[in-house]
């Protein structure tokens, strides 16, 4: 019994996703620990982003069950919920491989949209907002304060009022993470956060993620190709290939797994046994 299987935050069981005849994910099961950084790696087209899309409600899985258990024991079955409810009620946040900010809105507004649910309630669905109710004003101030906190964390405090599309690439990536964090998630799903970053920015990203995990006590689920990031910060790695899980364990375990080496180096199926034998010896 590995540590992440005991009371996991996220438990994916027998997840299968088919698009017509194409099987993107086939019978995938894994768990993500409550305060772990879990990385999902695998060659291009292995189905990593599809797993994310199923977790965040963007796709409805063909088969399988995705259970999220909050700290208070409340269970949510994510495959049954609409995507906005997954974000606002179960507190799962995500970022995208290709950045998806609200480009025409200011940096601060991007972070406020992520707190929409809370503000809508406080404003009594806008009626109170128009009347200038005190509770709404307080909620709004609180939201701005939280936004400022995260802007400060990702080093964008001086650019709060700039249009987000005008930010440089690395800053947009950090803003996306800040936006996800503003919804106070218990699970943060990051789809290739280091893509397109230079080595220094990648290093900063590593530190940021470790800091988030340490201070916010949340779980991070990560898709990444940059092995420096993956091996450097993850507690638990899941390797996918052609929609199936081929390895699952600590970085140490995965690094030495013959199946992983075979998938990455690309050997023929009938050679796998041979490679395994070689690695084992």
């Amino acid at each position: 019994m590995t540590p992440w299987d005991q009371e996991p935050l996220l438990k994916v069981e027998h997840l299968t996703m088919r698009f017509g005849g194409l099987v993107a994910i086939n019978d995938l099961s894994f768990s993500a620990g409550r305060n772990d950084i879990t990385a999902m790696i695998g060659p291009n087209g292995a189905g990593k982003t599809t797993v994310f899309n199923c977790i965040t409600g963007f796709y409805k899985p063909t088969e399988g069950m995705i259970t999220l258990t909050h700290e208070d024991g409340e269970k949510y079955y994510l495959e049954r919920l609409d995507d906005h409810r997954i974000a606002s009620e179960t507190n799962v946040a995500r970022t995208f491989q290709n950045i998806r900010l609200f480009g025409g809105m200011s940096v601060l507004e991007n972070l406020l949209v992520a707190q929409h649910h809370k503000l809508m309630k406080a404003s009594l669905f806008t009626v109170g907002g128009i009347l200038g109710l005190n509770s709404y004003r307080l909620a709004e101030e609180e939201a701005i304060e939280l936004s400022r906190f995260w802007l400060d964390k990702v080093g964008l405090e001086s650019r709060a009022d700039d249009t987000s599309a005008d930010l440089p690439y690395g800053a947009q990536r950090r803003l996306e993470i800040a936006r996800a964090m503003c919804s106070k998630p218990c699970l943060l799903c990051l789809d290739e956060p280091a893509a397109g970053l230079n080595p220094r920015e990648t290093q900063e990203l590593n530190e940021l993620l470790l800091e988030i995990r340490e201070e916010q006590k949340i779980a991070i689920l990560l898709i990444e190709h940059d092995m420096g990031v993956v091996m450097g910060i993850s507690d638990h790695i899941i390797v996918l290939d052609y929609g199936e899980k081929i390895s699952d364990g600590t970085p140490e375990h995965v690094r030495n797994d013959p199946a992983v080496i075979a998938a990455y180096l690309g050997v023929e199926d009938d050679e796998v046994d041979q490679v395994e034998a070689e690695v084992a010896s």
Partner: protein, 304 residues
Amino acid sequence: MEYFLQQLINGVTLGSIYGLIAIGYTMVYGIIGMINFAHGDIFMVGTFIALITFIGLVSIGVTFIPLALMLVLIISMVLTAAWGWTVERLAYRPLRESFRLAPLITAIGMSIALQNFVQISQGARVKPLQPVITGGYEIMEKDGFIVNLSNIQIMIVVVTVALMIIFSLIISRTALGRSQRACEQDRVMASLVGVNVDRTISLTFVMGAALAAVAGLMFLLYYGVIDFYIGFVAGIKAFTAAVLGGIGSLPGAMLGGMIIGLIETFWSAYFSIEYKDVAAFSVLVLVLIFLPSGLLGRPEIEKV
């Protein structure tokens, strides 16, 4: 000069009504990129609801005019908003993931359905309302020509400006407005940060219809006659106004409404009243040729 001033006052009044309707077009286009051709008929339904409510209130003894008008305004805003919500729920939401032309076609269908519904249920004849708000000010007199500024004109412009300010504040300051703008830019992402996209779109229709109801009441009070067909021409004019101002832009819709109202009034005053619609629609043609993104609209940049 006096004649010009009088026409200016008339034009601004008419423009305010067009502007209020145009906001409904522009907001819906902004958020889901669709032209809601039934919006003009929602406005028409609004005029009927206002008329029926007014008569009803008077018949139960509410004869204090300011109170009656206030009640009519609130009731017709609520009821017309419910119509707008229903139209969206029935005719547009099921087609949201369909091809682009599908909601446009149902919108035209919805427009015809609303017209016929009102024609059958209320009759095809014009419905008159006696002038409710009378009086006004003579602001100038020269050679026997009197420039009039009537109370109803003042009320129309004041209400329009007030509503414009309130709605601009909702869009720019409140959580609802922020989520509307977020949906406008990336509906999927908005949903993933927890915005209920369907509800936000419904509320956009509700807001548009509520403004159309206000325009409907103003129209009823100003002209005093309505029939089931007024929504068509008023709707197309307001649509022209929205395109002229730059569709998707709230101040643009107001500006466009004013310009269309002024063009129509001045054309009727100085050239020929028969061709006033031709003048207004020629503007649409010219704008589409020379300024496709409108006066205040953002040009669409296609990324490659």
